[in-house]
């Protein structure tokens, strides 16, 4: 099945089969948000514990397709123990990898895309194949968007 290997990398399937940091955290002290992809019904619940601007614990719940659930699991593994600044950079870098460039209307119109932050993506790089399947980008970014909501809550 040529083609699909790019989307369903082994590590993505592994995170889908054995999701990391699965569960719930007590709120408060943890912050919590539930993300929904109304198009297809994917759900990701993010519980995140922040102490001194560091994510000290995270738990993921929800249900949905392999990409939404694996991406949330990979995110949880990548950000645990990281500072909020580092998490922000990772989030921007992941979205940039999926061709999502968060620009405001005031941005210059030079047509030059902003440079993504120079950060080590590690396992998260395995989700790069999603960019070829635009419908699935929303699945892959659901966890990250829900994390942002949880952090704002």
């Amino acid at each position: 099945m040529a083609g699909l290997e790019d989307l369903y990398k082994e590590i993505v399937i592994d995170h889908y089969r054995s999701p990391r940091n699965r569960g719930e955290l007590e709120t408060p002290p943890a912050q919590h948000a539930e993300g929904l992809n109304p198009l297809c019904g994917d759900e990701v619940h993010v519980y995140v514990q922040v102490e001194d601007n560091v994510i000290t614990d995270i738990a993921i719940g929800g249900q949905g397709c392999s990409i939404s659930q694996a991406s949330a699991s990979m995110m949880s593994a990548a950000i645990k123990g990281k500072s909020l600044d580092e998490v922000g950079e990772l989030s921007t870098a992941v979205k940039s990898m999926m061709s999502i460039h968060e620009q405001s209307l005031e941005d210059d119109d030079s047509g030059v895309l902003p440079e993504p932050p120079d950060v080590e993506l590690g396992d998260l790089e395995a989700l790069k194949g999603v960019v070829k399947y635009p419908v699935r980008i929303k699945c892959a970014t659901l966890g990250w968007n829900t994390l942002a909501e949880a952090l704002q809550s």
């Binding site: 099945m1 399937i13 089969r17 297809c40 759900e43 990409i67 699935r136 699945c139």
Partner: protein, 416 residues
């Protein structure tokens, strides 16, 4: 039922009429199994719309000039075709809308606001498409009406055991004529009769019905019917509301503007005669002409033959997928082919429908994955989403075979 000896459809000839099947799509043969989402369009429909723009384009009912008259004639000829196709008493009972969703919103906003007060009940079913739920939620929030729901019973059929209780005090029963998820065909005439006996009017969402079964309004006994053009070989952008004349006459207008008035002064307005009273603004003229051509096309095939073909292929689908995959596959909805439409929501092992749809797409097999705009039904079924394959006039056994074979790949990739 299948009448032995009666020919159903020559699917090869049908496919030849649909240009989208001419060439590869994304480098693959197209196995299109999402006609419940939208049907493909035959050349005859595309040509009718093209020739309208080339030969007869003008606004309708506006000018005394030849071209405007031509445009009006083509549009009204399509209205007559629609009326004949569904067995309406007169073309004036056929209202063109943007889509079926707008048609149902028209019922809720116009008839509903004029006739429903706090405490009145509207009866729906749990298998409805969101288009036949949300407009009533909106009206409930505004008017304090009560919504009641007919449940789902054995084998994907509606549970009508408590129908009389649900109908007590109801002013309207609005339900799908064929489920877009399960293929369920509710007993329309029976429900309509019970509703009328209880003093309620009856509306059906016939989006999946009119394209697939011969539609004879006199036999159905309903008061309102909504359907869309694009699921029956017509273009997007046009839908139909049919209702009995006396009901339409008594209803206030829906959208206001040009075309729907008889007179306008600075003090007020009076409405135009039917059907124009409900058709404010320039209608989707070319699309209406295209819908007329779609009806000619379906009439050419014969709706009895269309239904026979669908029952035959439904039986083949249900048999083949079970033979190949056994208990690994669950197909929702009625098990008897003659009691359902050819739309199959199914689950395969524990592969998520999105992933299933993605793997099938690698084989050129187009199926929809998601909640199919029926989230309450998904909850009833205890699933978040399903994969859905749906059949139409251009599908044949080989399409079913390709789907059934491609499922093996999903198994290889996602077996745990």
């Amino acid at each position: 039922m299948t009448d032995a000896g009666q020919p159903s459809l020559d699917t090869a000839a049908v496919r030849a009429d649909f240009p989208i099947f001419d060439g590869p799509v994304n480098g693959r043969d197209l196995i299109y199994l999402d006609s419940s989402g939208t049907s493909q369009k035959p050349r005859q429909v595309l040509q009718a719309m093209d020739s309208f723009y080339v030969e007869a384009n003008a606004n309708v009912h506006r000018g005394a000039y030849y071209l405007s008259d031509q445009a009006s004639r083509r549009m009204e000829s399509a209205r007559t075709k629609v009326a004949r196709f569904i067995g309406a008493s007169e073309p004036e009972e056929v209202i063109f809308t943007k889509n079926a969703t707008e048609a149902i919103n028209l019922i809720a906003a116009s008839w509903g606001r004029a006739n429903l007060q706090r405490g009145d009940a509207v009866v729906l079913t749990v298998i409805e498409h969101h288009a036949n739920i949300v407009p009533w939620h909106m009206l409930a929030a505004e008017r304090g009406i009560e919504l009641r729901f007919i449940g789902i019973g054995e084998d994907g059929h509606l549970d009508l055991s408590n129908l009389d209780t649900l109908l007590d005090g109801a002013k309207l029963v609005s339900f799908t004529a064929m489920s877009n998820v399960l293929g369920t065909l509710p007993p329309i005439a029976r429900i309509a009769e019970a509703a009328h006996a209880a003093g309620a009017l009856v509306a059906i969402d016939a989006c999946q019905y009119v394209p697939h079964l011969p539609t004879r309004l006199a036999d159905l006994g309903v008061d309102f019917m909504a359907f869309s053009g694009h699921k029956m070989c017509g273009p997007t952008g046009v839908g139909v509301l049919w209702a009995r004349r006396e009901i339409l006459e008594a209803m206030p207008p829906f959208l206001g503007g040009g075309g729907m008035i008889s007179n306008v002064t600075l003090e007020g307005f009076t409405t135009a005669e039917l059907p124009h009273k409900f058709e404010a603004g320039t209608p989707p003229i070319a699309e209406i002409v295209g819908l007329g051509a779609a009806i000619d096309y379906l009439d050419g095939l014969g709706m009895d033959a269309v239904r026979r073909h669908e029952i035959e292929l439904t039986a083949y689908f249900l048999r083949t997928i079970k033979e190949r995959h056994g208990d690994d596959v669950t197909v929702h909805g009625p098990s008897e082919p003659s009691e359902r439409g050819g739309v199959f929501s199914f689950e395969y092992k524990d592969v998520h429908p999105h992933d299933l749809s993605q793997v099938l797409d690698e084989h050129g097999v187009n199926v929809r994955a998601g909640h199919h705009c029926a989230k309450p039904l998904m909850k009833e079924l205890g699933v978040g989403a399903t994969a859905r394959a749906s059949l139409y006039i251009y599908n044949d056994e080989s399409d079913v075979d390709r789907l059934v074979e491609a499922l093996d790949d999903a198994s290889d990739l996602f077996s745990f």
